[in-house]
Symmetry: C2
Subunit: 261 residues, 2 copies
């Protein structure tokens, strides 16, 4: 059964989608894994980032989550991409309304987990791109997940949110999902020129989260944004770029971490 990884933080613009898309692609392309990339963000940026490689979808995740019968599976709305081994859920503007509608549902936090019961048996990895908040959709992502990856750019505003997120994960672990584990904090958009700021943030992170910081970091690399402009993953746009290499390293780290546990 699949390892489910939520890529989550309430801080906006730190590379949740960029990480979800390129990590999922690296797992499929270089480790032969069957991967499902699930977009829980109403912005639908997974579909925009892979626009040139995605097959048209049918329905949306919100249909599955809001279905009263409880019989629906995420598998019902999954669609393939040109990337061998990678499937995704299509962009779904209905997720915006779902966030509000879930508020009054009994057992609202378990809807995604339950809709993955069968789907999990079809894949090696399920990656969940979360929206920039800790609302009902993100909580569903955390309850369904085995591991959480926390992207964080080297900035005081991104760092200030990590504590709140870790507290939320602990609450989810205590009451809703005892299996959940933090895979680690992934430093993203690291700009080598900002040495002063990087050093200050590194120090603060090491002091508070030391061993949770992943050994792989993602530097600022314009190829990653250019690939998105073309609607392609980094490996079909610029496989020799720094971003491509660093996300391959991250995939390697994840596979090792999962095999080891």
């Amino acid at each position: 059964t699949a390892t489910v990884l939520a890529i989550a933080t309430q801080k906006g613009g730190v590379g949740k989608t960029t990480t979800s898309v390129n990590l999922a692609s690296a797992l499929a392309r270089y480790h032969g894994k069957k991967v499902l990339l699930l977009d829980l963000d109403p912005q639908g940026h997974v579909a925009r980032a892979l626009q040139a490689q995605i097959n048209p979808g049918k329905g949306g995740l919100s249909d599955v989550l809001l279905d009263e019968s409880g019989e629906r599976e995420v598998l019902d709305v999954v669609t393939r991409t040109e990337i061998p081994g990678l499937s995704v859920t299509p962009a779904d503007p209905g997720l915006r309304v779902t966030e509000d509608l879930l508020t009054s549902r009994i057992g609202k936090e378990f809807l995604l987990r339950d809709a993955l019961k069968v789907t999990r048996t079809w894949y090696d990895f399920i990656l969940i791109d979360c929206p920039p908040n800790l609302g009902n959709l993100s909580i569903n992502g955390l309850v369904a997940a085995d591991q959480v990856l926390i992207p964080c750019d080297p900035s005081p505003l991104a760092l200030s949110g990590v504590e709140g997120l870790v507290n939320t994960i602990e609450q989810v672990a205590g009451r809703l999902n005892p299996e959940i584990d933090v895979l680690g904090i992934l430093l993203t958009r690291v700009d080598g020129r900002n040495s002063k700021l990087n050093a200050a943030v590194d120090q603060e992170i090491a002091g508070r989260w030391g061993d949770a910081v992943l050994p792989v970091r993602i530097g600022v690399n314009s190829s990653l944004a250019q690939a998105q402009q073309e609607g392609r993953d980094i490996y079909s746009f610029d496989p020799d770029s720094r971003g491509a290499r660093q996300y391959r390293d991250l995939a390697e780290h994840l596979v090792q971490a999962v095999q080891g546990s």
Copy 2:
């Protein structure tokens, strides 16, 4: 009575807070305006960005919004900063729960507007830093606003959200706030080195939003992030930086636009 400006977009990390803080400061410092900077984001990043210059607050915005009597004013929770003419609302973790609690309130979209009735008479400008979503808090911001500033970094993902946001603003204008107007799209975090991507995004923006793009752009400038690390506005950290100059130009543009209308 004050001009109320909402700084809003559901795209994360495009500089909503950086713009709110430094624009508010430039209006107070260089145009002698009385400015209130209101933080509608549960992340509470206005307080983090001005941490070294903010006086301790009393209570939070959520107390005002959730108050049943309807008698409370935002003024009740406002606190001063060291910046002459600039007051802010303190960070308020209670806003996270407020987002959900508002869902079932009658007239939920007008709560902030109504709590600004008297507060508006005390200031020349009220700036609202919105969270990265289009939920109840952001809608409250749009309903209370006279103008909306849409920060957008030069990226396909940020650009893909502008259409949805403009549709939402039009719906707000149609049913809830006929006065609302889009001040414009502010290009932020522009990195001169990414000429290919910048040209592609410029072309797309000009084609779709042409005259809505503001004449001022904010380039990538590490002083802006470093100022936040120190908990200070850009004018007390590095007044000669590019970021400081560009936000002054933005303040100038806003003052002209308001006086002209």
